[in-house]
Amino acid sequence: MDSLTPAPPSERRWFVAGAAAALLLAAAGAGGQERRYTVAFANLTEEPTVTLEGTGFTGRDLRESFALAARRLPVEMVFYDNERNNRRAVANAEAAVARRVDLYVQYHADAATNSIVADRLRAAGIRILAVNYPVADAPLYTADNLEAGRIAGDALGRFAARPWRGQVVEGVLVGSLTANGDRVSERARGVEEGLRRHRPGVRITALDTHGNPAQVGALLGKFLAARPAVKLLVGAMDDATALAAKNALEAAGRAADAAIVSHGLDRSVHGGVNDRKEIDPANRGSIVIGSVAFYLDRYGYELLPLALRMLRGEPVPPRTVTAHRLVTAANVFLEYPPSDMN
């Protein structure tokens, strides 16, 4: 048929219907393919040896979690390092404004700097999501140290109720108890609360390492010598401290008199098949009976879905807390499946 010859009515109808269907499909295709967003993450610090939030996780763990989580989301990541430096934090926010990112995830401890950062970003119409420290009234995602401590204390109390029924039991809090900024003191308070739910009158002693795990041996050794016939429930503030406490107890010949619950669940205690690890189904006899997970290495998986909800105009709660969980030899492979088998 000549292209200039008008088509008969029936063919025209098919053509119109076909064209309409094509338009609908095109529209559906456009609607089905969500736009990609640019999300910036300004990390507290990426200095290799610096650990965050009183756990064994580093800034690199956080950054990697964002990069990995972004793989299956319509998100392009831009990374900044605040270097725990107020000027750098402001400069990073300004760089993000110049880059016209869609949303800025800010992880920085200084309140005054966070206020300046919020002003800069808001002036540019950029949404903000805060990590662990408030940034004006932006939605906050944070660890819940008090609740994590309660979980640890509760686990210690439950443990003591079984093998040590009727024996003299004391509690020990050990770690960097007065560290500034890490809110470890909230964690310690939580352990006390959790433990006292089971043993209201229990005596609890605080052993402050002031951030030096090498102090654990000396502090705990002295403490143990003064209490030869006491069972100990040890609330370690982080995994490195827990391992140091275990060593001290073994050195003193008192491993059978103690149980330890720790905080963080970093790779130093869970690991994979190839790693030396403490919390493992094949090591159920360990006196480190568990660690309360802080999941800093999964922040990206938690925060990016929140960021997407904000970008789509959906409501998000003003405060979202980490779902801390006690991880023991019984559930560690469920929480952290080791990838070194196939």
Binding site: R72, L334, E335, P337, S339
Partner: protein, 336 residues
């Protein structure tokens, strides 16, 4: 008396519920095989005489392209896996040869796990809880030495068409290749999720349409690190590029027999969801009886495809009829 009866009844209820927990209801965890309730063969049921005959048409030049890596001391192995060979060569000693013809002989003792080097994952390799392919409650079918159901002896032939998908070329063409600096040839970096769109682009590159009974081989370039053994073993084992759940489900819909790659697990590591363990293995092997072939040497076939603009070949793989094994190392040649 009545209290005693009640307590006894309660004990029976508790005991029976504990027993029920010991074995999972596999009909709820794993789908049935499309080849019937007694099927232990899985996807190699698709390799019919017609499929093999059609695949034979791929042999046009008689050129044989090796697709296995050497199995030698020092190649990357995982976890506690090991290989060890011990040579028996006593007849080489002076005066120990036999007869006037001075016959001598040598033999090997091979101590090895089966999932090493270029190897096939069988249907007894991966399950969900105690449930394996075709709703098999595997707890009833294991003894101290082997599995008594779903062993390699039940598999049919793998004599079918192989289709190479060059993911490196796809990523290069799309301008998104971020190679790892340790690779001496271009490679996708670990953690890269190969998508369905990537695979479709790879098929389009050589105008191939998948057909039922094919074996899909993905070239990621990551195998270059295997070739550098032992220097890059730690990096090779630390993760890999690969497919995720979406692609696994798409491959299931294509009714293939197996998928292989030049990586140690075929699927992306770290996985898409950190709380899932080797989920692609579950989808392919446990749920659909589709085999995974790991550590396939793909670079030579990728070069061959690029040279001839043809990415299909006759897939020639030998799998020992090893009774009760969950997998085994294999030799693969692509014949064209």
């Amino acid at each position: 008396m009545r209290l005693k009866s009640l307590l006894a009844a309660a004990l029976i209820v508790v005991a029976s519920s504990s027993a029920a927990l010991a074995q999972s209801d596999c009909t709820k965890l794993v789908p049935p095989s499309p080849w019937g309730p007694n099927d232990q063969t899985g996807a190699t049921n698709r390799v019919t005489a017609g499929v093999t005959k059609a695949a034979a048409a791929e042999i046009q030049e008689g050129k044989v392209v090796p697709m296995s890596y050497p199995l030698a001391d020092g190649v990357p192995l995982f976890g506690t896996r090991f290989t060890k060979t011990i040579l028996t060569a006593t007849s080489l000693a002076p005066g120990a040869s036999f007869g006037e013809n001075q016959l001598t002989y040598m033999e090997d003792t091979w101590l090895s796990q089966s999932h090493v080097g270029t190897h096939l994952d069988g249907l007894g390799h991966i399950g969900r809880k105690d449930c394996y392919f075709n709703q098999t409650a595997m707890g009833k079918y294991i003894n101290q030495n082997s599995i008594t159901k779903l062993g390699l002896e039940h598999l049919k032939s793998f004599a079918t068409r192989g289709v190479l998908i060059d993911a490196v070329k796809v990523y290069q063409a799309a301008g998104k290749l971020k190679s790892n600096s340790a690779c001496t040839k271009p490679c996708l970096d670990k953690g890269t999720v190969i998508t369905r769109a990537d695979l479709e682009a790879g098929l389009k590159l050589y105008n191939v349409t998948l057909r039922e009974g094919d074996i899909v081989i993905i070239h990621t370039g990551w195998g270059n690190l295997f070739e550098q053994y032992p220097k890059q073993n730690a990096l090779f084992n630390s993760g890999e590029p690969g497919i995720g759940k979406d692609v696994a489900n798409w491959l299931v819909s294509q009714k293939i027999v197996a998928v292989g790659a030049d990586t140690w697990a075929v699927e992306v590591i770290p996985g898409e969801d950190p709380k899932e363990a080797f989920i692609v293995h579950n989808i392919l092997i446990t749920d659909h009886g589709i085999h995974i072939i790991e550590n396939v040497r793909t670079d030579l076939m990728a070069d061959e495809a690029a040279r001839t603009n043809r990415a299909t070949f006759f897939f020639n793989m030998t799998v020992p009829r090893a009774v009760g094994l969950t997998g085994n190392f294999v030799g693969i040649d692509g014949i064209r």
